[in-house]
């Protein structure tokens, strides 16, 4: 599949933003961060900026962005529609939570519960994003059980590293310390899940040129004359090939930057609290870089079955 920049930005930015909102809700619920005005203003601004910029990027790739509101209507059947509805619903608890934190200076009691509801909604929204891809049978690499766990875990790790970094700057050390174990756990899970995902997508697809044409009974099928001598919409959108050439190297980069380096850096900041801010700052940057590579591969490596008609 063609790895469109807007979709890579949409999935990574909203993933990190919702991850951040998730951890803010959890930390407030556990009473680990008090409702400080300045801190709240900065973290919620970053979280909402990531989410809103990501959602806007996803509407900009539409052929008719002005009609985007229509995408909210078909939640009964369409995961894209569900994602749109959930994204908007999530603004209610997270928005109330942010207002209470920043304006009322309160993130305890009822507001902590609202924060926790927002945390749940944030993760459900990330899940619906992943299901847009998971539900497409025509792209076997995405239609696996590992797609959704991958999206959820990477949202949790990128959001978790962001909040750790900012909590370290704000001096909320109990929160930073409390986050160490869950983030290490989720990084390890993410590492295993990406390896499993790649081992699954490397297997041959159930569909082949033989099943696509139904000519398998006559032997091995190959295209000898293309319907058109210039690439058409289908080939431009689905026939992307560059990734397979560099996929091994890029997978290594995604694993090292997205999971291994942040794992080491988290342990490092735990052992050397005086340097924690720097360790976590670097961890945020390499993780986001790793996740962008991972997401690029997620699109670029995914082979659409229509390409079987084109021998690509």
């Amino acid at each position: 599949m063609h790895p469109a920049k807007s979709v890579i930005f949409f999935t990574t930015a909203t993933g990190a933003g919702y991850g951040l909102l998730f951890w803010l809700g959890v930390l407030a619920h556990r009473g680990l961060i008090k409702a400080d005005f300045k801190f709240g203003l900065v973290v919620f601004a970053i979280a909402f900026a990531l989410v809103i910029a990501g959602l806007l990027a996803s509407t900009l790739h539409l052929g008719r962005p002005s009609r985007a509101w229509r995408a909210l209507s078909q939640w009964r059947s369409s995961w894209l529609s569900r994602e749109g509805v959930l994204a908007i619903l999530t603004f209610i608890p997270t928005g109330l939570f942010a207002l209470a934190w920043v304006i009322l200076g309160d993130n305890t009691g009822i507001f902590a519960w609202i924060g926790l509801i927002g945390a749940v909604f944030s993760l459900v929204t990330v899940y619906t994003t992943s299901m847009i891809y998971r539900s497409l049978k025509a792209i076997p690499a995405w239609a696996t059980g590992w797609t959704s766990p991958g999206y959820l875990l990477m949202s949790l790790t990128s959001g978790g590293l962001l909040i750790s970094f900012m909590a370290a700057i704000g001096g909320y050390w109990p929160a930073v310390d409390w986050l160490v174990l869950p983030i290490l756990f989720f990084l390890a899970c993410g590492f295993v899940i990406k390896l499993s995902y790649w081992s699954i997508i490397d297997r041959p697809m159930a569909s082949s040129a033989e099943t696509a044409t139904g000519l398998g009974e006559f032997g091995k099928v190959r295209l000898i004359e293309s319907p058109h001598d210039q690439p058409n919409y289908l080939l431009k959108e689905m026939g992307f090939k560059i990734a397979r050439k560099h996929s091994k190297k890029l997978r290594r980069i995604a694993l090292i930057c997205g999971f291994l380096l942040p794992f080491v850096l988290i342990i490092g900041q735990w052992q050397l609290p005086s340097l924690a801010v720097y360790f976590l700052g670097v961890a945020v940057v390499v993780t986001m870089a790793g996740l962008i590579v991972e997401r690029w591969l997620f699109f670029a490596e995914a082979k659409h079955v229509v390409t079987l008609y084109y021998d690509t």
């Binding site: 539409l62 052929g63 049978k137 000519l215 006559f218 319907p227 210039q230 919409y233």
Partner: protein, 250 residues
């Protein structure tokens, strides 16, 4: 509404494509473009049509495949027209977030309402067969309508009320009809020739069926003698001819 019809009618309009007959002339694609460029889905925009890299919206594409049997080495060349299969479980319909994509309850034709399509392209990702086309100029998705504006058009004579690809096919490789009715001509044709679905593992239940090429003659594959009436004897000829024949033979 992008849920599939809850009470679909038994009628399933579709095409039967005979791969034994198709000669790969692309006339179906050309007539499809001609009709639909002025029909329900019009315009079918072309980008850079006379330039170095022409691109544009077409609902019908003709691939040519070769199937080679690894044991016997016998190969078959098969021309393979491909258009929307109007699937019963159309994945392009259910993924649509806007309700622009829908399957008609009365005859099963899958259509796009281009007035509300947002051009998110997800339907083209969901279709295993590449039947969905994006009109870059209009920013919306387009697709085969089974010539809905032709098959129900009462201004046309009855015999013209078939999709443009069917009426134009010079070899008669395309048939149109109700595949939901087991007594229809197309259903009988499918049963007789063992018509099949493309990519059945995708579980889309295509309505359109493909008829496989007939088995190749193997062995003494000389052409049949056409001159069965070859003139060896003069029996049955006229009196004068028989007389000349006898003289010249002697």
């Amino acid at each position: 509404m992008t849920c599939l019809p809850k009470n679909p009618s038994a009628k399933k309009l579709g095409l039967v494509i005979d791969l034994d007959i198709c000669v790969g002339c692309h006339a179906c694609a050309v007539n499809c473009k001609e009709w639909n460029a002025a029909g329900q889905m019009a315009p079918l925009t072309d980008i850079d049509p006379y330039g170095a890299e022409p691109d544009g919206v077409w609902f019908n594409r003709i691939h040519t495949f070769e199937a080679v049997d690894s044991e016997s080495g016998i190969s078959r060349t098969v021309h393979f027209p491909k258009s929307c299969l109007h699937c019963e479980d159309a994945p392009c319909v259910t993924v649509c977030p806007t309700g622009a994509s829908y399957k008609r309850e009365e005859d099963g034709i899958v259509l796009v309402n281009t007035d509300i399509c947002i051009g998110c392209k997800l339907c083209s990702w969901a279709c295993p067969y590449g039947a969905r086309e994006y009109d870059e100029d209009e920013g919306v998705m387009k697709k085969c309508t089974l010539c809905i504006d032709k098959i129900y058009n009462e201004n046309l004579p009855q015999e013209s009320r078939v999709p443009a690809c069917v009426s134009t096919c010079p070899s008669g490789a395309r048939s149109f009809g109700d595949l939901g009715d087991p007594k229809s001509d197309v259903s009988k044709l499918v049963a007789a020739r063992k018509g099949y679905d493309l990519m059945p593992e995708q579980a889309t239940k295509p309505v359109n069926k493909y008829l496989p090429p007939r088995p190749k003659r193997v062995g003494n594959a000389t052409a049949p003698r056409l001159l069965e009436h070859k003139d060896d004897s003069s029996d049955g000829a006229g009196l004068l001819a028989r007389w000349v024949d006898r003289i010249l033979t002697a």
